[in-house]
Symmetry: C2
Subunit: 300 residues, 2 copies
């Protein structure tokens, strides 16, 4: 027992035989580590994650921990605090047997910022999207109520300015401080903000007004608590708008990928060709096929 704390190796601890071959990702901020390795001769991915500190546990933690002073300066001091083991459990997620695809999914990927001109869109990005012809069947299923119909929070069925509003899968709907909904337009030929012109202002205004109203009514969150934006590049090429709680750091809410709906409306009002002509910057992962196309075109 190397700890000297009276701990014993757990019985039936199948992870005790796990041999790490690579650290796929090490997220210091989130206290999570993603490991690739072997478990009983099989490929496996193991994710170790420290758990949040609950308010309910701190009294016992303070009462019964070992404390070691690290630094003291005026009114500030820092300590190492070693709580009893049962108050400090981690979450382990195991994928076994893991395929190459699982390993790649968790691997940290370098990203590169690409600056796409209007011409780059027509000569590089649009042909790539058309060539890949990503399936949008799941989007059409939602719009046609063939799937997820019970999840719809609001719908305006108008074919031109209408949309369906429903919770994003990343949101567990248990609290509004991380609210995340998606508005998917009924129009089927709009791939992304690149294709928006002044003709789409009624659609955008409608999503802005009715989306915010529906969220206020259903969740009690006013417009001043919302971040409403597009992604460019989007993760699928059917126009949709993200509604996230301002209080949460939404994934994909960074300035390098997100475009506020209110800015898009203003830009199109001032110049209907704004999104056809302007250079747009966005990050692409090293394994993204579109990055290869930009590299082949000598644009990176």
């Amino acid at each position: 027992d190397p700890s000297g704390n009276g701990e014993e190796c757990g019985e039936e601890n199948i992870l005790s035989g796990f041999k790490t071959t690579a650290v796929l990702k090490d997220s210091a901020r989130e206290k999570t580590i993603f490991l690739h390795g072997k478990l009983d001769e099989q490929e496996a991915v193991v994710i170790l994650q420290k758990t949040p500190i609950t308010a309910a546990s701190v009294a016992e933690m303070f009462a019964c921990s070992k404390l070691k002073l690290e630094m003291r300066n005026d009114i500030y001091s820092t300590y190492h605090l070693q709580p009893p083991a049962h108050l400090n459990v981690l979450k382990a997620t195991v994928v076994c047997p893991a395929t190459e695809k699982h390993v790649k999914k968790y691997q940290v990927q370098e990203s590169f910022l690409v600056e796409e001109t209007g011409e780059d869109y027509l000569s590089i990005t649009l042909p790539y999207i058309q060539e890949k012809s990503f399936s949008l069947q799941w989007v059409f299923n939602i719009l046609e109520k063939k799937a997820e119909a019970d999840r719809i929070v609001y719908e305006d069925p108008d074919p031109d300015v209408g949309f369906v509003l429903l919770p994003d899968f990343k949101w567990d709907q248990k609290q509004t401080h991380d609210l995340y909904l998606i508005a998917i337009v009924h129009q089927r030929d709009l791939k992304s903000i690149r294709e928006l012109t002044a003709a789409h202002l009624p659609l955008l205004q409608n999503i802005c007004t009715k989306g915010k109203e529906a969220i206020l009514e259903r969740y009690g969150l006013p417009a001043s608590k919302l971040r409403v934006y597009f992604h460019y590049q989007p993760s699928y090429y059917h126009l949709h708008v993200h509604f996230t709680a301002l209080a949460s750091e939404a994934p994909g809410g960074g300035v390098e990928r997100a475009h506020l709906l209110s800015d898009v409306v203003q830009n199109l009002r001032a110049d209907g060709g704004f999104y056809r002509q302007r250079s747009l910057s966005f990050p692409l992962r090293a394994d993204d096929g579109l990055l290869a196309k930009f590299q082949q075109a000598g644009r990176l």
Copy 2:
């Protein structure tokens, strides 16, 4: 010993007497909790923070932990993993005695999204900035080499298009994946992007080109790995540009506050009055004096 693990309350554990009166902030994502309470009859703030999982510790953690199956589904399974206490230390930071100001600093604050028109800037924001006359002495000290001169990474001394580039205090300069530098302009009368016109394009181009060159030379990071942006509202009203590593989720990099330098340049090229006339959205904390001004003006 409630844990049954043979732990004993640490001797000289001054935190054992801490009585929590309020949870100031509970950051589940970062596994950190901020508490306000009493320590020996004195006001105190205690921050408990789980520590990152190091690759070096996982072998011992796997070999000698208790494991409890939580869920199994096909190739996926999740467990509770209880490592020996010594492998699972927290960091505790104590501020004692703590003033009202300390408590407020750590308290989570509601934020509200404000949409500021060009007129709002002139009638609400600018008078507020002038009334408060925030001190910029520390900025002038840097520009005049009276402070932090040894931290300067690059300088263009030109009074019109020149700037000083130096690391932000949030960056420990130990690795480039969280690189964070600030370019502070030598011009003294530019408060923020609100005051930029086409006349400032040479300044912005110069910062963009020479800032990126200096970072490539010193840190080996090319422009495609950088996020270069302004904040609006900024945290101080002397024009400055943030250079952060694309790989890091920079605090304040969200679309609701950040404006890419490349977009600012394009916008000013197309319309020199862009930043004087457009509505700009930004979040304000509930305790921000500027929010009160917008509320008094009936703009929220």
